[in-house]
Subunit: 451 residues, 2 copies
């Protein structure tokens, strides 16, 4: 048993924090959470402690692109020219390189207070499309690289195994995309069913439809049905760019949302990612289905996607969660802040989200979208804790509560991280962890030889 | 004489950094800048070293509002409801409290690599509008509080003494605004002329027109003429909110830009702040006049101002600079990043600004808008240096160059700061400085008793 005395703790009940909360942990879960509890044998954690954060959308290898697609030669580009650079990195991945890069990036996440990640994983095969295998038997080497990286970093993994069949509406896979593909939806299903037997118990296996660009209408129900049969999370990139909508309308006379609805792919286990360019009908459909949204504001601004109707979606019944996606930034506080700020930029008004609502999106609602019951400091929950200093140049002066986290803190202000009862960032040791993570990232990216 | 060996230095000539640059400093200026120079007697600075940053728009006391205007009770607000909260802080200021808050906030800036600030200062008088005085003689206590704070923090100050006469177009000052006013433009001029005789030589005294809301057309030339006579910087809030444009058009049939142009207030020493809501004619006028722009993206998103036409202004001939304004964020790297990101959100395209252009805006162009020849690592320039680690969780993997700073770094990644030859953040000592700054900020804000 270990015990901690939290100077201020956000227990999820509104804007304010509760002072002096004693928590006890055994077997990776909270066994006692007691405001005004005794300090006996407890380690004191100064600052504001919140539940572990959930990053609901990650393409982990994109971390290698940070600050490398914005130089002079990239001037005047678009989402689609960025994608060319991204494919260059995808081509360079081997299981070993992916493992190193994913472990370093997941460690960056943990140091930023992220205790669970949804990895939207589509680099399944060798560059020529043949499966990784040992003695002729598929060994899922890329998936296992991600699984091992997450375990070593101490982050809870929801592996969203992605179906990726076409290079665009009615188009074959391009040479760079061949390693993403499984031939057809049954090929995807067979691979995933085999993979399911080879994963450690702590990994949540979910399904992903890359997008309606990459999965034709006839294949959508195969993925949706597998997810339904296993009560597994189902994630899908939705209407990130206007070109996707135009292609869907031209080919099938339906929006991507309508296609997914017809295929039975929308429901309470479904998380739609981005959902930037929607019609009013799309918004009603997603709300009525009770989907979750993975908004990724720092990526959506980086990739010039635009500002999606997040507030309107939540008003319609969708649950908000947040993701760092392409990892130009790994700081979920910034994602939460940007959710409010982008809505301000669009509307000319302030106050669209309370800080408490954004913190709920970062924690309990995010974990739920990853198929986990976590993200609250409460008896029985996984013992994930994240402490934010209230005395850094950024946070000093803020009152202890949700606003301090959402409207002042950055990832650099995280001073302590516990994941499932294990200390990952020791109090007083954040600088040391940061130095290790920096060195590991630099080495993993160097290895890839990205220009 | 002191000497430094910079592992990588951005010398202002494009995207890339130069390796191993020896710099020598004497009397607060660079006396030698030598790529490939000897390491003899030099202190090694690992990472990427850039010139000192210029923060061209600051209302220093707004720092007390960070994370305090976004809580549940503020839901559904606007720029104008935010202003009510800001006026509450302005009312609480005394020379002592302003000094403490300004010193702490300027130290936060220096720790973030900011070596010069333009303080757009309008809290001139006692709350009842009477001047601060010693033995019946005006002593400019509020201005001197700002001057002392800047000197103690080691930041170069351009004091933009602000003319603020009306509470809105044709409206008297409200009770909360009375302490900003000088009665009429001649009152402003007399006060500034007296103040000019009482400032230390290192302070640049500039003029500011608060806005066309607060300075009537007849008074504009008085401020513009004073600035012209003294070849001083002249700054003005311009078209931050649509309501300002509507009021100007209703009262005078002209946009704020046209009013300023007619008054002779636009020229190469003029910096317009925000410039969010402009007509095509306004953009041409500002470009032809050769003005500078102080864009404040993190404030403009916080206050729901909207996304201004920064790229179009620069294409028309305006020089870009950046400011942290209301200090919801003090991180000029984030301002630079947001300049590009907001344009991406609006346009659906990437690559509007090269990283090198944004770094020039943060350095030499920013200092010029503050009436200073600084912001380059070159012989004869003030010896301001800012080192950014390339091995933090945020920056690791980025190539040494402008993109690493603009598209990866945060203020927390600054590891060394030299201002005019004095070490303000010692290499290896950033954490200690951050702790001091945090404690000082917390104390100064506590003293104000802001709710």
């Amino acid at each position: 048993m270990s015990a901690w005395l939290l100077e201020h703790a956000w227990l999820g009940d509104g804007a304010h924090a509760t002072p002096l909360v004693r928590v006890e942990v055994e077997g990776g879960r909270f066994t006692r959470v007691e405001p005004g509890g005794s300090a006996d044998g407890a380690i004191h954690l100064p600052g504001l402690t919140i539940p572990g954060l959930a990053n609901t959308h990650s393409h982990v290898f994109h971390r290698a692109l940070r600050a490398r697609t914005d130089d002079d030669s990239a001037g005047g580009g678009s989402f689609w020219t960025w994608r060319t650079r991204m494919y260059d990195v995808a081509q360079r991945l081997t299981p070993e390189r992916l493992h190193a890069l994913a472990r370093a990036t997941y460690r960056e996440m943990v140091a930023a207070g992220i205790t669970a990640v949804g990895e939207f994983h589509y680099v399944h095969h060798r560059p020529d499309g043949s499966p990784y295998a040992t003695d002729g038997v598929p060994d899922h080497a890329m998936e296992q690289a991600v699984v091992a990286a997450a375990a070593e970093a101490g982050i809870a993994l929801t592996l969203l195994d992605t179906c990726y069949l076409t290079g665009g509406v009615g188009e074959p896979l391009t040479p760079e995309q061949v390693r993403f593909g499984d031939g057809d939806a049954d090929g995807w299903r067979r691979r995933v069913e085999d993979l399911a037997t080879r994963l450690p118990a702590e990994v949540v296996l979910g399904a992903a439809i890359h997008s309606v660009r990459a999965v034709p209408p006839a294949a959508l129900p195969v993925v949706a049905d597998w997810a339904a049969e296993h009560a597994a999370p189902l994630h899908v990139h939705l209407s990130e760019q206007p070109a996707e909508n135009a292609a869907a309308l031209a080919a099938w006379g339906r929006t991507p949302t309508a296609l997914l609805a017809e295929a039975g792919a929308l429901g309470s286990r479904t998380t739609v990612v981005h959902a930037t360019h929607l019609t009013p009908d799309d918004i009603s459909t997603l709300g009525a289905a009770g989907c979750a949204l993975s908004l990724c504001p720092t990526t959506e601004r980086d990739l010039a996607d635009g500002i999606g109707p997040a507030r309107a979606l939540v008003d319609a019944g969708v649950r908000l969660t947040l993701g760092s996606d392409a990892h130009a930034v790994i700081d979920l506080f910034e994602e939460a802040r940007a959710t409010e700020m982008h809505e301000r930029l669009r509307s000319g008004r302030r106050g669209h989200w309370t800080p408490a609502a954004l913190l709920a999106a970062l924690t309990a609602d995010g974990h739920a979208a990853l198929g986990r019951d976590a993200g609250r400091i409460a008896v029985g929950q996984p013992a994930d804790l994240v402490t934010v200093s209230l005395h850094t140049p950024r946070t000093a002066g803020a009152a202890p509560g949700a606003a301090a986290v959402v409207h002042a803190a950055t990832a650099a202000d995280v001073t302590f991280v516990l994941t499932r009862g294990e200390v990952r960032v020791p109090h007083g040791g954040a600088a040391g962890v940061a130095a290790e993570v920096g060195a590991e990232l630099a080495g993993a990216i160097e290895q890839l030889g990205v220009r």
